[in-house]
Symmetry: D4
Subunit: 252 residues, 8 copies
């Protein structure tokens, strides 16, 4: 902006042309620039495409454009096997069925502060967990998977106390009664992001029981994302795990 104003002062550009430039690029010049670009602040962060509700053709087209724009790494969430099969022609594409995740480009080297522990209550939470794990890895995090450590078999969880104690951030994923978040929140000394899952029967109400349980956790340091939202948990966990790095960028 200052540059532009100086050009005006130097008569290098007319006031009318300057006004046009300002109007056309209000976000780039007036402090909003980061909004537009903020997902790409750190080097190598992938673009994310929400796959549900888009056809394979639409996804393919979006990927193609992103690649043209120089994006080297793309994450496609909520991708079905059927759609994934139609995307095989994309170069460097692979599909992780466990989490419903499609990836274009190579996974980055982990560059976060520490590791993200992803713990699940049961095997049926695995799909959500893998969505979280693959997202976190694609965002440059080292991930430790602690699956099937639900509270009804407490010894399984306790045998992993060391991983829990040394995590930078933990994602606790559970359906049914969702008690896992509270127990881990009590054991750990780092932020815990709880993900209720829609797994359950009877009065689990598609994840509401677990959601309420997690919101009411008596452990400090626990926050909650939406039901089955493994991606959202991993996205925030990655932000937390890169805070040191962001901070350095900001101050330097």
């Amino acid at each position: 902006m200052l540059l532009l104003l100086r050009q005006v002062a130097a008569q290098e550009i007319t006031p009318d042309a300057a006004l046009l430039q300002i109007r056309q690029a209000p976000f780039a010049d007036l402090g909003y620039a980061k909004i537009d670009l903020h997902r790409g602040v750190r080097q190598g962060v992938p673009e994310v495409i929400y796959g549900a509700g888009k056809t394979a053709a639409q996804i393919s087209e979006i990927v193609r454009k992103m690649l043209e724009n120089g994006q080297s790494r793309i994450l496609i969430t909520r991708l079905s096997a059927e759609k994934a099969a139609l995307l095989r022609s994309i170069p460097a594409f692979r599909f992780e069925e466990a989490g419903g995740i499609g990836l274009v480009g190579k996974m980055p080297e982990p560059d976060g502060i520490g590791s993200i522990v992803i713990a699940t209550g049961g095997t049926s939470d695995q799909h959500v967990a893998e969505e979280a794990a693959l997202t976190a890895e694609a965002l440059g995090n080292r991930v430790v998977r602690l699956y099937d450590v639900g509270v009804s078999g407490l010894h399984r969880l306790l045998s992993h106390t060391e991983e829990i104690m040394s995590a930078t951030v933990i994602i606790a994923i559970a359906g049914m009664e969702g008690a896992l978040a509270s127990v881990i929140g009590g054991l750990a000394d780092c932020p815990v992001i709880a993900v209720p899952t829609s797994v359950g029967y009877g009065a689990s109400f598609g994840g509401i029981s677990a959601l309420l349980s997690m919101l009411n956790s008596c452990a400090s340091g626990v926050s909650v994302v939406n039901i089955d939202n493994g991606f959202g948990a991993a996205y925030q966990a990655s932000m937390i795990n890169h805070i040191g790095g962001n901070h350095e960028n900001t101050v330097s």
Copy 2:
């Protein structure tokens, strides 16, 4: 009934008089007798008066009638301190404010199979817990209190593993996220009766979160009673703790 029929056959009673007797006492003679009397099957079981919604005068009158009928032990639940003060003239009456319980007569000696463990998640669950504990004691059970062993401080619970493992039946009382029932259900090898409490803030919804959490417990052997219903949990726990005794009575 057979006796009556024989009296008819022996002309000791007219058919019309016999019919009257049958009509007047249908429950005593036709297999329904136990319905009327079933709460007094075991020797010394107290009568129970639900105190909420009754005036002190009404409670006093009911107690007086029960004492006249030879009932030596009476339990009054949901009794406020105000009402209790007005009941002081009842002989052998005492009031336990912690559980809102009034007692007439002496506590019985424990005669159950083993002990009932009553565990709570936090100090604010204590009122419900004492309602359960005093009820259980008044019904002839040995009670072990494990208060404030919530899952966010798991070590407090684990330091009582022995009591949990050796209980005959456990009452798990918790508000907020209600995870205690699942964790205890996983540790214990006996029936667990879960009591959600209305303690909590925000989205605990007066106990609904804990109720749903407990209904969805992934641990086997857990059943649930209504919110804050310490009495109901203790009543069923006492039934379970006396099953051996009942069985002997039944077969002998």
Copy 3:
């Protein structure tokens, strides 16, 4: 542990090797052992596999491993007829379609205190009832089935007063308004475990009406499990029906 410490004292094992043993087997030595094994405390108790959400191949593999480990009796719940057909090659396997239950090995002889009465409100509750009944039988209980004794035809229920009065524990299964639990709770003198079912129309809300009704039962001695959870009710009922036996084991 004491043995290990004595070995250390006797120099039969180095402190470092002892530490390793303690770390590797924390649950076996520190009072947690029962957790791992607690489902096998009584002789002959079957392992339980939750069939929903597992493929026939996964179930088959789990069964094979269990058999290798010496488990002679296996219960598979929530098993569809399609999956069951694929499990036919398992030796001594049979499928009970009525309750969606697969069984490997012979049913045990009943060894509980008395019998478990399973009562249903209507014919449409039968699937849940059979899940409960077969589970209870597989866990070593004598089961008395009282099906279709709903409260709108009270005489059907009353004609079974004798069975109700002599049960050790009763499982009351009903959808719609769920009144069965209250009526049976009023008639019986033993613990009643209520199972709401998702049967119903209009404002039954997939079992919520029955669930709320049962939680609010005005009869003492009634607790509730999750909607359609026949297995859970039977598991707890079996615990109760074996309490005398457990107690003997514990004290001897």
Copy 4:
């Protein structure tokens, strides 16, 4: 209307004046007349004033106007003792605190087909029951009160089978699990109007549990009114109990 038109034809009234008359009295002349007056169709039916939300002064004023208009019998519902005390100066006024009902004028002789049975599950439902009973009596019905016959003590209800079988219409009032309506619906052969009450604890949710239970009643012939709406149940019950009378009026 025809009369008016003939007056126009006979020039006894100008068309403009006739139009004015028609506009001013559209309901009296065009078939809507009954709307305005339909509550007074049967001789002696009282006017009803909903007392909640009105001051004693307002109620007093309304009563005075009704008496001036020749209304000899007035029913005031949801009336508190405080307001009732301020209404004592009204001639022939009396207050029934049990049902929160004020009455002006004498109760009518019963003129219905038969009797209305009002059954309650517990003593705490009595206030709603008396609102229903007094309303029904004020509307000219013979009322049979069966209070405290809840389903957890089935023998109390069964000992009144005769009254239930011979009722013209039954009002079943219950809180908590609301099972009374189903059981009575199964026993009776006449319409049953169910009234859920807000009595209850924990998950009774101010009457919702009872409401849902009653809506899902498996017994035929049961309909439901709003929570605690004793007046509404009695009003409809009285309509039903006077149908024969209405019919005679209609055909004669």
Copy 5:
């Protein structure tokens, strides 16, 4: 019972044999008889089979048994066209697809006090309405159909004021906002039974909006049955429409 007792007194039967008889027939002799038979009190009332959840074979078998027992008229509700096609071999069977009703035997002549008006808010409520209408006709009632008279086109409803004013009982069927019951309740001078339907979009929640609206009707004389329960409304309406007749039977 008196007869039996006299036989005992006369030594015509031994006391033991008499006891057996009493035990075997408790309902026939002790005032419960009507329970068993109460649905057949009026001559010609059909038996009702709830078709949903039963196979065509099961329905066919039940019908056959009923016919053998002399039942000449049978109503099958919630019957799909597919099942109905398989029932064609039953003599005198016909299927009314509009209401999902199967009928065996001839429709009875109307013998009620007056007529039952069945009003619907829209054409999409017609299926529920026909279930009600055919049930009412099969139970011996004259039925007046007022379909598609919803309150957003008030003139359609008002043009039928005469039918509404002269009904003995009205069934008001509506989805969406369910306002029809209130408007008819204000117009009519007879009992109104409201049936919420599951028709609607968005926040209609499968009929809950209409259900709540009807329960909160500000018009007197309105009661409500479950969502889509056309049969239940018609059953109660028929009871009301036959009260005069029942009364005669009872007193004669």
Copy 6:
């Protein structure tokens, strides 16, 4: 902005000073200006203070500042009589208790297109209605009050057909079943804004029943605001009633 740029070009202001000006006034210069001022676009529109949750002192201070800024007309909503008494010293202040509205300055002359009809179902909706009516009048609208025209007495509503037909916009206010909005929506040919009120009993749930009913209205042209939000309805209604005026302003 253009002016500023020209000043820069003319060296009348340095680029740095211009940048500062732009940063300090981004909303005034870049098209956001209207945001800040948009409530004052039409001449004489009052400022609105939401009175609930503010002390009388706070309100008084805000009013004083507004008056200093030249605002001649101020509307204070949700104002209690207690707070209003403390505001008496404000010049030209008056308090309308019926709607809980305080006004500073004179009411404006109506300058809208036509009139706003405000209809209520019952007398208990009057407080919300007066909040709406006084707000509308303070915003420069002619208001027609049609109170107590609920659908259970349809003739009262129909006798005002003319007012309804000639309104520019209608605010329909009702609690309980909320049917008023649908009926008016069917009669009227203009936008209807529905306001559910928290008036009601039993299953009215503090206005939810009315809210759902109104959202599901089968009449076209009906939208809904929050429960008891008379102000919000009036604010939008006034916007609609001034659209012609606004439009003229915009094009001129």
Copy 7:
């Protein structure tokens, strides 16, 4: 009516014949006429057929009748592609799949006061948005589409400030958290009609989250229609956008 009365006065018609005319045409003569015809008040307004729940044959028949009655423009909402394919033989029929809208006849020229802005939060709200847009166009409005301007990318919304500021009425369509309505309500100076959509995952509950969010909007001038009800929003928006026109019609 006055004409008729004058005819009577002039003996041109007998009183009986006049009465018959009045009875047969109550709506045409007594002020209700507009009810019947009110949808056709403005020239060229299309008839609307709700397509869901009607077969293609039924729709075709209705269209044919409307065309016979001289209706030149017909709008069919909630029309599936399958049904639309079967309607191709209707002259001047076209199908807009994006909004599920069928149109018969030509779109009218816009004749409203200004333009209706339709803004959506995401691409998945487009179906509802097109239903609204095409409806608005068919009702004679100029429509400005601002799609995919959700609040998580605020710059996209802000770059359209000009369109928002100059709209006559805005329809804000959003699922998930529904924040769009509040943000637009804060920016705009005209009525905003909010449409929650059922788009979302987890705890969005089929649109309830967005619905509640919109009802609780802290911005003035926002009202809400039912979930996914694009048609309803457009219908009311068109009413608002034609108010000037209506007003002129009314006064002229």
Copy 8:
């Protein structure tokens, strides 16, 4: 543990005494130590006392014990002014009424990575905001308060873009429709913790609307804590803001 084992090996302690030590201190020696002490890991972290539900005497006693144990800084949450007045005798105690927070000892110097921005939608959210702000400050964080920047006046929020862009973590607090979290989530590039507040009217349902809105936020990087839980949000935010520090501790 190794030390202890070596002592055993060295015969410095008997095996029995060693066993006793192990049993008494299982958490200190077996990896659970951090559980007990984890809140004190960083130097100077205050102990937290939840003040609600505790008497002033209880709080005073707990504070005294903590001070004796060397704790120099104590935070008391949910403290009323009444209780605070009774705590004045505690040395170095002060009370912050705005957030209901009591503090013992001096506030620490901020030692986190960056600053925590706390933004609120309206002035009525201030109490929750101050609970969060004071908690965060007591935990050693620099706090930036952005109060009253709700989305209906977007310019207020946008004028603080710089603070939002440079935050390390943001706490977004809002009632009513809760849109603030989404808008900030879209602007910011750091973790956002959303706190729904119970502020609101009508269908805000004590914070549920805001809660659902925040859970469904379409912005990435947003998680949610319980309604009004300012403390919980600040606790997790502080964890995040100290992650760099923790990490250094862990690796060093």
